[in-house]
């Protein structure tokens, strides 16, 4: 069942589905007129939106577990050696932050397009491509950081601090890779004119979460390693 970007003039951007399908995105209206039973009114967000927050909660728990492993491992051990974070990490951070900015710009363009404010505008996909590229650039930068570390003789098993460096950055990179696939899917749907606002929003939330998570990890690694 294809859904389309709303033509200009449509009001309810979020209700993209006809209201007689399963509750997603729909309002649970009053029972049919004439009945005296109490009405039950609720508004449900589109499932993609709820889904992404559920997913974010799970990913957060995983990184929370790894954080506590780091704290415990550092606390009890005599073999902890300080790891100087490769400086490219800070550049990578800026790249990732920039990708969030381009993502937000593209969302504004799409919203405008859907709301009919601008009949023709620069292709919003351009900004999505920028986001995707910056994401890939970030991953390339992470790889360079790994190369820099191993050039110093710090590998996965060298000492516990280097172990955690690789584990945390690899885990984040893996999840970001998933985000890249999701972004690619959004671009494809936009190009085929079947993108729903919910999909775009959910993907954007996930992407920004990857950003926030990275900043948290950077601070954690900088403080602890």
């Amino acid at each position: 069942m294809a859904t389309t970007i709303h033509p200009p003039g449509a009001k309810e951007i979020r209700d993209l589905r006809p209201s007689n399908t399963s509750g997603n995105g729909g309002r649970r209206d009053r029972v049919p007129a004439g009945s005296e039973l109490r009405a039950v009114q609720e508004y449900a967000p589109p499932p993609a939106s709820t889904g992404v927050w559920v997913f974010v909660a799970g990913v957060s728990m995983t990184f929370a577990a790894l954080t506590s492993a780091l704290v415990v491992r550092k606390g009890g051990a005599l073999d902890w050696r300080h790891v100087t974070l490769p400086s490219i990490l800070y550049l990578n951070t800026l790249v990732l932050l920039a990708s969030s900015v381009t993502l937000e710009i593209s969302r504004c363009h799409v919203a405008a397009f859907m709301g009919g404010v601008k009949a023709t505008t620069g292709n919003p996909a351009r900004w999505l491509y920028a986001t995707l590229s910056l994401g890939m650039l970030f991953l390339a930068g992470q790889y360079i950081a790994w190369r820099q570390l191993s050039a110093q003789g710090l590998y996965l098993a060298t000492n516990p601090s280097s172990s955690f460096f690789y584990v945390f950055t690899a885990a984040h990179a893996l999840h970001l890779l998933g985000g890249l696939f999701a972004m690619g899917r959004v671009i494809r749907k936009l190009n085929e004119h079947v993108l729903s606002r919910a999909t775009l929003d959910a993907t954007a939330h996930y992407w920004h979460f990857m950003d926030v998570l990275w900043i948290y990890l950077l601070v954690l690694l900088w403080m602890k390693l």
């Binding site: 007689n20 029972v31 449900a44 889904g51 799970g58 995983t62 577990a65």
Partner: protein, 593 residues
């Protein structure tokens, strides 16, 4: 490929064998696939328990044919000490993960959650399909460890480090066996996370018109609460397993400290924390056991109501209590670690929430008992198993009460008392919940009735048999019989061996009784009496559609909900109950809205 957030059926029913029966996006098929997986796992797990118990009763007995399973593990059909531990580890792991997490939650939940909230399907059917196949792959990886050279890991389903983390130097199966175990579990976690994703979003976003949260049946609530627990708990187990794998294959030392010597060889690890594994594992492990029991609580509540023909004393209090149990379950995990060497003050700290969790658990049991007062019970098989579950849960819960106290844990830790406790609350109570759900919902799932006479025989023999098997475990524990021993060589254990033999006989007899259930399942599937839409005269949405439900659950027209699901004991034109979809008004006590 279509939008992930659209139900697949909005198009049309799939054709073709693969898309209909194998890679189906239909939550009902996925639920049945999970049930089949759980059934297979239960048969394997039970077989393992038989050979374990025979060995415990008669240690040098040659179990005919055992050498086919492993030449190294059972030369001449006599089980070696290490093979006992390997089978024990597989028994525990397979039962906890592939039966008790899968059947009450993934199997029944997948089939019935969307129907009970009035949806056509779950919002992410592709993820749902993936979650089953990922779980299946996890199962294959787990079972494959039987067939590698050294055999499966022998470290127990708890896989404590450093025994689990140092490699094959610590024992047979501790190399590749551990890596396979940890890989399988990490894969399982991913499958469960995808499942939880669907369950939570279905409950929150896919409810039909009139289905407020408080009008959801207790099974839906139970699955919802369980899926939140699953989301948070499995997300912690997965990194723990990955760190364990890294300790094996990458030379890291997350869990292995320095200066360990095995076979006179100094081990190359350094600085890791043994207790770190225990903290990570039990942070997952305790919510996991509630993941096993909360759906069974929901199922029993749901079935009981339909069979006592009156509402439960309070639906909201049951929901709050299940929720309280779930929240508290994260605060109690240290009770598995009272004498582990963690700070003794932590032990006291963990014991208080453990004792307090008794309160919501008691409230749940009291509400069940109190609801029986004034009931008009119909004792069909599903109801019998529900009542049996209550009896079993009381027993298991009370033995837990002992284990919650660190000073008593000094005597009971790692004894058969613990084994008795968890078998009562998990193996028996949760299993009875699975049985009750099967007998109750089989007509809806397959359109045929199960044989109630065979069902009752199954119940009676299993109920008495389960008590015969597991009650003596408590006595053994009080007498300090240590667990995870493949044979009883200590002086003080000799007088207890006859008790073990009694248990073994009871276990095999009760296990054989399950063949009646298996026969009933298979025979009824093909030759059972055709089932009406609502054979139990129950109120919730699954009974408002046909048996089995059509492809899109409701035949193209989604139901509208007018009532909560507790309208039993009503005097009306339709009988003593009013279905959720029935628009007629009710003059009696407050309708939940």
């Amino acid at each position: 490929m279509h939008d992930m957030s659209a139900p697949a059926h909005a198009a049309q029913a799939p054709t073709g064998f693969l898309s209909k029966h194998v890679f189906s996006l239909d939550h009902k098929v996925i639920g049945k696939q999970y049930y089949g997986l759980a059934l297979l796992a239960a048969i394997i797990g039970m077989f393992l328990s038989w050979v374990m118990r025979i060995h415990l009763g008669w240690t040098s007995f040659a179990i005919p044919g055992l050498h086919f399973l492993s030449k190294n593990g059972a030369p001449g059909d006599v089980m070696t000490p290490e093979y006992y531990l390997q089978l024990m580890t597989m028994h525990g792991t397979i039962m906890v993960f592939f039966v008790l997490t899968t059947a009450p939650f993934a199997a029944f939940g997948n089939f019935f959650l969307p129907i009970q909230v009035g949806a056509e399907d779950m919002p992410f059917p592709h993820f749902n399909m993936m979650s089953f196949w990922i779980t299946f792959v996890s199962f294959v990886v787990m079972v494959s460890s039987f067939f590698v050279a050294d055999g499966p890991t022998l470290g127990g389903w708890t896989q404590y480090a450093p025994l689990s983390a140092m490699g094959s130097v610590t024992g047979p199966g501790q190399g590749l066996g551990v890596v396979l175990w940890a890989s399988s579990i990490a894969i399982f976690c991913i499958g469960q996370l995808l499942g939880s994703l669907n369950f939570i979003t279905t409950t929150l976003d896919m409810r039909t018109k009139g289905m407020s949260l408080w009008r959801m049946p207790l099974t839906t609530w139970a699955w919802f609460i369980t899926s939140i627990m699953g989301l948070t708990a499995f997300a912690v187990l997965m990194p723990a397993c990955i760190l364990l794998i890294l300790d094996h294959v990458a030379g890291t030392s997350f869990f292995v400290p320095s200066n360990l010597v095995v076979n006179d060889q100094l081990q190359p690890h350094s600085g890791g924390s043994t207790l770190l594994w225990q903290h990570l594992f039990w942070f997952f492990g305790h919510p996991e056991v509630y993941i096993a029991i909360v759906p069974a609580m929901g199922i029993v509540s749901h079935i009981l109501m339909a069979n006592i023909r009156r509402p439960l004393l309070s639906h909201r209090i049951l929901v709050y209590s299940m929720g309280a149990v779930a929240v508290l379950s994260y605060m109690v995990y240290g009770h598995h670690m009272f004498v582990s060497g963690m700070n003794p003050i932590s032990s006291i700290a963990f014991s208080f929430p453990t004792l307090i969790i008794t309160i919501p658990a008691t409230i749940i049991v009291l509400i069940w008992l109190g609801s029986l007062y004034g009931a008009r019970m119909r004792l069909n098989t599903a109801c019998l198993f529900s009542l049996g579950m209550i009896s079993m849960f009381i027993t298991g819960g009370i033995s837990g009460f002992f284990l919650a106290q660190p000073s008593l844990d000094i005597m009971l830790h790692a004894t058969y008392f613990v084994v008795g406790h968890f078998h009562f609350v998990m193996a028996v109570s949760a299993m009875f919940g699975i049985f009750a759900g099967t007998y109750f919902w089989f007509p809806k799932m397959y359109g045929r009735m199960m044989n109630d006479t065979l069902g009752k025989i199954h119940f009676w023999l299993t109920f008495v048999g389960a008590y015969c098997i597991f009650m003596p475990f408590h006595y053994l524990g009080l007498a300090s019989n240590v667990r995870r021993y493949q044979a009883f060589v200590d002086d003080y254990l000799q007088p207890l061996i006859p008790v073990h033999r009694f248990i073994t006989v009871a276990a095999i007899a009760t296990g054989l009784v399950q063949l009646i259930f298996l026969y009933n399942l298979i025979h009824s599937r093909f030759w059972g009496k055709p089932a009406p839409d609502n054979p139990w005269e129950a109120t919730s949405l699954e009974w408002s559609t046909s048996s089995p439900p059509p492809f899109d659950n409701f035949g193209g027209k989604l139901p509208v909900v007018y009532h909560d699901p507790y309208q039993y004991g009503i005097e009306g034109s339709t009988g003593d109950y009013v279905m959720q979809t029935d628009p007629q008004q009710i003059q009696t006590q407050g309708d939940e809205a």
